[in-house]
């Protein structure tokens, strides 16, 4: 049960975070109208759960967790990918990052960030990312959460956050390299990664 005082307190805490939740909702849905729907549903659920919120804890993380869960239950278009869900966790996920760079260098694209219209290319790359990868990029790279905070929001171990994040970034780098190559930038032969 909630009352008018609860509503006032909830609004005081939650509404200042609306822009943050809205950005995250867009990152998840990639659609402005769906994002607004997701934000509204997130806030309604959060209000219903307001009395479970511990004052002094991180309201932003709390709202992001509800937003993520709401997206997964109501808006998710993809089935969970078993190959991503059961991913191995380890430092080996960090090693391939230099392979993208080495591949770019080999193709004469070591300076692709200076030669490619990177923003639109990355937007397309985000569209193509599996949702589990997109949500971790949104949390860490766009919203600035630490690995630990992202792990709490996603309710997974920190090792899973690192694994997904590194693999997502690798995909985005490879996407940029592919876009640059399609545009005729670069030279030489690239190796397959």
């Amino acid at each position: 049960m909630t009352d008018a005082t609860d509503l006032t307190r909830f609004e005081d805490v939650a509404l200042p975070l609306l822009a943050d939740v809205s950005r995250f909702a867009f990152s998840l849905t990639r659609d402005a109208d769906e994002a607004d729907d997701l934000v509204q549903e997130t806030y309604l659920k959060a209000f219903r759960a307001w009395r479970t919120f511990s004052p002094g804890t991180n309201a932003r993380s709390w709202l992001f967790t509800i937003c993520k869960n709401t997206f997964r239950r109501r808006f998710r278009r993809e089935k969970l990918r078993p190959d991503i869900e059961k991913e191995a966790v380890g430092d080996d996920d960090a090693l391939p990052i230099v392979m993208s760079h080495a591949n770019a260098e080999q193709m004469g694209l070591g300076d692709l960030f200076d030669r490619l219209d990177v923003g639109p290319a990355l937007e397309r790359g985000m569209d193509d990312l599996p949702e589990l990868f997109r949500e971790i990029v949104a949390l860490v790279d766009l919203e600035g959460f630490s690995y630990h905070e992202a792990a709490e929001i996603l309710e997974v171990p920190v090792g899973t956050v690192r694994s997904r994040l590194f693999r997502a970034r690798r995909r985005l780098q490879d996407h940029l390299i592919e876009q640059a190559r399609d545009m005729g930038l670069g030279s030489g032969r690239g190796g397959e990664s």
Binding site: D3, S22, H101, G119, L122, G144
Partner: protein, 85 residues
């Protein structure tokens, strides 16, 4: 190589590179990485390439086109829910 100052090899630096760029390492480890990057052109080049990606991704933050309308919509929904108990 002194006892109190580890010299990192390229592989260990590469393994820690994302954690380094994301400021996830403790100060001592980050300092070791910095020492290596100052001396190793290949690893510095990798780090710069990865940093550019992180910087560009941060630029993808998209603000709501009409935040006032969304705020009013959410407030109205909350008040309706509040009125219903």
């Amino acid at each position: 190589m002194s006892d109190d100052k580890k010299v990192r090899d390229c592989e260990s630096v590469v393994r820690a590179l994302w954690d380094f760029l994301d400021a996830e390492l403790d100060d001592a480890t980050a300092a070791e990485i910095n020492v290596h990057l100052d001396a190793c052109g290949d690893c510095r080049s990798h780090a710069d390439f990865e940093q550019r990606l992180v910087d560009e991704l941060a630029g993808l933050r998209r603000e709501n086109a009409d935040p006032d309308a969304l705020r009013e919509r959410v407030r109205a929904a909350l008040r309706e829910a509040g009125a219903g108990g």
